[in-house]
């Protein structure tokens, strides 16, 4: 399985992603610079976290229009798999490869802490490593993670099983208006969503940072193992 990780000026989580994907796939992913114009030969493109272009204008707005994103858009349109984490999720919404947008956290503060996520997505490679309803821990580090979309779009995402993950308590309890549980105030506690063809996934928390026992746990590993298992069968 060949994975490419796109690096923009200001991206800073690409090494974490390299480590997680190397552990899961057994081979090092390719780093793709934002000025490149092709992602040919890849099975999965990952947009990692960071602060691409210094978050100028809006988080992800500048990166969404860089040369590599034309190739990523073409790749996605042809059915390629794309994962965006944190800033990567923001870039995917700005590029309109995923619906909605990510606003400033409702509490105004940059959040850097663990959260818990409930797995909800149906029939996709990104939640394949878990059972529906599973709860797992994931680190989170962002200032603009407050997911929003028009109410009709939120209904559609829920109706089509395209909410991949929701913020929840460690026992799986979900409460949209509780800032201790839905930490950034996201609409309907949404932490991750899927595209219409379920091949593009964006999420704010960082499963890649919990993939090594030496770093505190492997709670995030099912994301990567699930992708590998789905794509290699």
């Amino acid at each position: 399985m060949k994975v490419g990780i796109v690096v923009f000026p200001g991206t800073n989580r690409e090494r974490d992603m390299v480590q997680a994907l190397t552990l899961a796939t057994g081979r090092a992913p390719k780093l793709v610079w934002h000025q490149e114009e092709s992602v040919t030969g890849l099975d999965l493109v990952v947009l990692p976290g960071g602060f691409s272009f210094g978050d100028y204008l809006r988080s992800g707005a500048m990166a969404a229009h860089s040369p590599i994103m034309t190739a990523v858009r073409r790749f996605a349109e042809q059915g390629g798999y794309v994962l965006g984490v944190c800033n990567g999720f923001q870039i995917l919404t700005e590029a309109q490869l995923l619906p909605g947008a990510l606003l400033r956290n409702a509490g105004m503060r940059f959040l850097s802490q663990d959260c818990h996520l409930k797995v909800e997505g149906k029939e996709n490679i990104f939640t394949h490593g878990w059972a529906k309803g599973d709860v797992f821990r994931a680190p989170l580090a962002h200032g603009d993670g407050n997911y929003t979309a028009a109410p009709e779009m939120l209904d559609r995402l829920e109706g089509e099983g395209r909410v991949a993950f929701r913020y929840c308590r460690d026992d799986g309890y979900i409460q949209h208006d509780d800032a201790q549980i839905n930490l950034n105030g996201s609409a309907r506690s949404i932490a991750g969503v899927l595209s219409e063809n379920r091949r593009v996934c964006g999420m704010m928390p960082h499963p890649e940072n919990l993939t090594d026992p030496a770093l505190g746990g492997t709670d995030g590993m099912p994301l990567f193992k699930g992708i590998v298992e789905s794509l290699s069968t």
């Binding site: 204008l57 809006r58 707005a61 229009h65 919404t93 700005e94 619906p99 909605g100 947008a101 606003l103 400033r104 956290n105 409702a106 509490g107 105004m108 407050n146 929003t148 979309a149 028009a150 105030g185």
Partner: protein, 80 residues
């Protein structure tokens, strides 16, 4: 020509920054401050020769990049 693009959060979209500024204004003794909404102003120097062209160009740029229409509204004024 000079074009000014005003970008603001759509009605109903939460503006935590505006809220925080509202609280700060109240703390400074400004009474009766209701909702505070914060937007962005982008001044552009464009090569267009007429006001109409300049406005159209400003609108195209707002749609393409300057505003995210999922969460923001914009309007364009030709300044000079």
């Amino acid at each position: 020509m000079k074009v000014r693009v005003f970008v603001s959060l759509k009605e109903g979209v939460l503006d935590p920054q505006g809220k925080a500024v509202g609280h700060a204004l109240a703390a400074l003794g400004f009474k009766g401050v209701g909702e505070v909404r914060i937007g962005r102003v982008v001044d552009l120097d464009v090569a267009a020769k007429t006001a109409d062209e300049a406005r159209k160009e400003g609108e195209a740029m707002a749609k393409a990049l300057l505003a995210n229409e999922v969460i923001e509204d914009f309007h364009v004024e030709v300044v000079a």
